[in-house]
């Protein structure tokens, strides 16, 4: 069975500082990894994904994530946080290639609070 762990319920960072939201995963086979963001009273929005290729993936709103196979991690990063980045962030994993329906397993979510 596949699983995702987001070890921090909340991350606090000052505006302008770099941010990191942590994610580790467990799958059999090659992982497909995703980050989603949820703003208040909204559905989830796709941020970025790792399927194959370069370990550093760039996504929307200046976010990036680094796939580390040896540490089974996929941490989300941004060089300079904005107050508007405050939201709930979810990491998700799927296993490939034995998959026909891209069934994602989500972590518990990390609330990011960026203070002015």
């Amino acid at each position: 069975a596949q699983s995702v762990a987001q070890p921090e319920d909340q991350v606090n960072v000052a505006e302008g500082n770099p941010l990191t939201v942590k994610c580790t995963y467990s799958v059999s086979g090659n992982p497909y990894l995703f980050w989603y963001v949820q703003y208040p009273n909204r559905g989830l929005q796709f941020l970025l994904k790792y399927i194959t290729g370069d370990n550093l993936v760039k996504g929307s709103y200046g976010f990036e994530a680094e796939f580390n196979k040896s540490q089974t991690s996929f941490h989300l990063k941004k060089p300079s946080a904005l107050v508007s980045d405050s939201a709930l962030y979810f990491c998700a994993v799927d296993s490939a290639p034995n998959n026909a329906g891209n069934m994602l397993t989500f972590g518990g979510g990390t609330r990011l609070m960026v203070k002015p």
């Binding site: 995702v4 497909y32 995703f34 559905g43 518990g108």
Partner: protein, 114 residues
């Protein structure tokens, strides 16, 4: 832009009522999903469908059923609502095998069962 719409943003039902949650997507996606979101638990998959009239159980199907009569529409049914089904329900759609892999989510339905 992909659009996934859900029939209600907020819903209040009584224990024992039959509840229908509707989801429609406009991108001709093969796959559709129903999740529930609870604080600290993230999203948990209830059911998914990879084709019309096809369905598969997710991680927490008990107390729920689904219907997919048309490709664009996926319904979640609570046969007899209970208070422990109070939650946020999210619908999503995505391309099938060989597609882009990400899922696109609707705005969610916050269901309260009293």
């Amino acid at each position: 832009d992909v659009k996934v719409t859900q029939s209600s943003r907020y819903l209040v039902k009584r224990t024992g009522e039959k509840v229908f949650l509707e989801c429609v997507q406009d991108m001709d996606h093969e796959n559709m999903f129903w999740y529930r979101q609870d604080p600290g638990l993230g999203l948990r998959l209830i059911y998914f469908s990879y084709d019309v009239k096809m369905k598969e159980k997710g991680d927490i199907p008990e107390g729920y059923s689904v219907s997919r009569e048309k490709k664009e529409r996926f319904s979640l049914i609570l046969e007899s609502a209970s208070t422990n089904q109070t939650s946020m329900y999210l619908c999503a759609s995505g391309e099938g095998s060989g597609g882009s892999y990400e899922q696109y989510f609707g705005p969610g339905t916050r269901l309260t069962v009293t």
